[in-house]
């Protein structure tokens, strides 16, 4: 029996390239697993352990130059379908330089004993510091039984708070999160994409996390804690990173308390309408997730009897999202490598990968669209093009063999040569990493004269998901370069409607 190093080397290379391609399958399978868990929320939810319960709720609202929005937010909080004697609002004014203090003091006069103005003379340290100022005050006496942390601009639907508090009838629950729904009055393509993303990430994915028994993150603008949980956390919010909400969520669960997502408690929020502002906001979140991943290195993939954060399913979902841009690059590298060495497997694994991706995308978007029908019907273009028009063509190529390479060109009398077919295939295989560059270009041209048309066009072409992946990639670069971690407040202008 002879042995050929050439064959051995070729086979080894093929195996390595196949392994690279397989990295792209992990997020696809994780997404499919996560979304297939959603219908199980029908039976595996927290409603059976919930019961009527209306604790005394202190609402802490961090506010820096929120004069345009804070007054209406307070009025809406005071109109909640909740016993007014069990509600107090503490606005922590983070050294505002606009009319925030006047607006809040006016509301304090209007709602005596219910609205309080707390002033920080030294501001700008970040949301967690501002919150801690308010939390210190509400913990000074024993009036508060539950603490609601919210943003100044969000609008709670009237029944939302009581839908959250009912879960505290179960003493094992430490915190409850609501569904933050994109609610800008003057929607544009980007806020509609964000709206679709929020359906996917909240009423869809967080229901799945309820089923898994571990929540990744409490919504920053709508998180309710029991007093006991807050005290167990040290009576303060972590100030050491940009991911205070995620750290609060993890610490709650690591101490054996449950975190519940309540999909029917709905809160409207204003989201960025420009890529630049979204990039800044999401870069902060993504860099926070990098630090969370490192901080809890001893938690991942280590099942525990106390919490479910160490479960395999939760770990795979977390890392699939966090490492998605890496998987996109490695998977494309593997495909291109197989194509260049003329392996017959290139087409096979491309089809397997992209058919799985297409099926998962169609399933997740078809399910998500039904979870918030009004928002989805107003954003149907963004639902349909969420993966990006070019990625959809790639999916069609995989799903329907010969359609884009032969049938459609033939309609125009075009017949691709072998060389043409090779370069078309190469373009398809390398598309995904390049889509992130397209998203970066959309951000770069946004401020130019052409940006008004070109930026939306690019995002529709490359996909909103690629934009998020590009931001995550940027977060790797910033973290590796130890770039300064700065808390940038997302600008709000009072555009929220119910």
């Amino acid at each position: 029996m002879s042995f050929s190093w050439g064959v051995f080397g070729y086979d080894t290379l093929v195996v390595v390239l196949l392994a690279l391609v397989a990295t792209g399958a992990i997020p696809v399978l994780a997404g499919a697993m996560s979304f297939l868990a959603i219908p199980f929320h029908a039976g595996k939810n927290h409603y059976r352990k919930a019961a009527p319960y209306l604790p005394r709720v202190a609402i802490v609202v961090p506010a820096w130059n929120e004069g345009a929005v804070i007054g209406e937010s307070i009025d809406r909080l005071m109109a909640l379908e909740y016993p007014p004697e069990s509600l107090r609002v503490y606005v922590v004014d983070d050294a505002s330089t606009d009319n925030t203090p006047d607006v809040v003091l006016g509301k304090a006069d209007l709602y005596p004993g219910q609205v309080f103005h707390l002033r920080r003379e030294k501001g700008g340290e970040g949301k967690a510091h501002t919150l801690n100022h308010g939390i210190r005050v509400v913990l000074e006496d024993d009036w508060m039984e539950a603490l609601l942390i919210m943003d100044a601009d969000v609008v709670y639907l009237p029944n939302s708070l009581r839908k959250m508090t009912r879960h505290f009838a179960d003493p094992k629950v430490g915190a409850v999160s609501a569904y933050i729904r994109e609610g800008s009055a003057d929607k544009n393509y980007l806020t509609r994409f964000i709206g679709v993303e929020y359906i996917l990430s909240q009423p869809a994915a967080r229901r799945a996390q309820n089923v898994l028994g571990a929540q990744a993150c409490l919504a920053g603008g709508a998180q309710l804690h029991t007093r006991e949980n807050l005290l167990a956390l040290g009576g303060r919010i972590d100030t050491s990173s940009l991911a205070e909400d995620t750290i609060t969520t993890f610490e709650t669960q690591l101490r054996g308390r449950e975190v519940v997502f309540e999909p029917l408690a709905i809160v409207h929020a204003e989201e960025p309408g420009l890529i630049g502002a979204l990039w800044k906001q999401r870069l902060r979140w993504a860099r926070g997730n990098v630090s969370v991943t490192a901080r809890y290195s001893k938690v991942w993939f280590r099942p525990s009897k106390v919490h479910h954060l160490g479960g395999w399913a939760f770990g795979i979902v977390w890392f699939s999202l966090w490492l998605l841009p890496v998987a996109m690059v490695t998977s494309s590298t593997g495909l291109v490598g197989l194509l260049l060495i003329h392996s017959q497997l290139a087409g096979v694994v491309f089809r397997a990968l992209w058919i799985s991706a297409a099926a998962t995308f169609v399933f997740t978007l078809a399910l998500a669209a039904q979870l918030d029908r009004k928002l989805s019907s107003n954003a149907w273009r963004e639902v349909v093009t969420f993966p990006g028009i070019i990625s959809m063509i790639v999916m069609l190529t995989a799903f329907f063999p010969n359609l884009t390479e032969i049938d459609i060109p033939a309609l125009f009398g075009v017949h691709l040569t072998d060389t043409g077919l090779f370069f078309l295939t190469l373009s398809i295989y390398i598309w995904i990493p390049f889509s992130m560059l397209g998203a970066l270009l959309a951000r770069e041209v946004e401020g130019t004269w052409a940006g008004r048309v070109l930026s939306p066009l690019l995002i529709y072409l490359v996909g909103y998901g690629s934009l998020l992946c590009a931001i995550t990639f940027d977060s790797y670069i910033k973290e590796l370069g130890h770039a300064e971690s700065k808390w940038d407040k997302t600008e709000k202008t009072g555009r929220v409607v119910v």
Partner: protein, 65 residues
């Protein structure tokens, strides 16, 4: 909030007469029961989403393989 939002109605009137600022235990329990039952719509919604995928697979098998 209408049912068209994919959620349950906001109006307390939908669950019987009640002072919305002081919802009593019976009202909250009814709301809770309704929300719990509401979650079962996830099953047909997931089946519809699966059916969309199945249609694509059938088209592929019939016309492209």
């Amino acid at each position: 909030m209408s049912a068209a939002h994919g959620s349950t109605p906001t109006n307390a009137d939908d669950l019987g007469p009640v002072d919305p600022r002081h919802p009593d235990d019976a009202f909250i329990q009814r709301e809770l029961d309704r929300d719990r039952k509401h979650e079962w719509v996830l099953v047909p919604k997931a089946l519809i989403a699966l059916a969309v995928v199945a249609v694509l697979v059938v088209i592929r098998q019939l016309y492209f393989v």
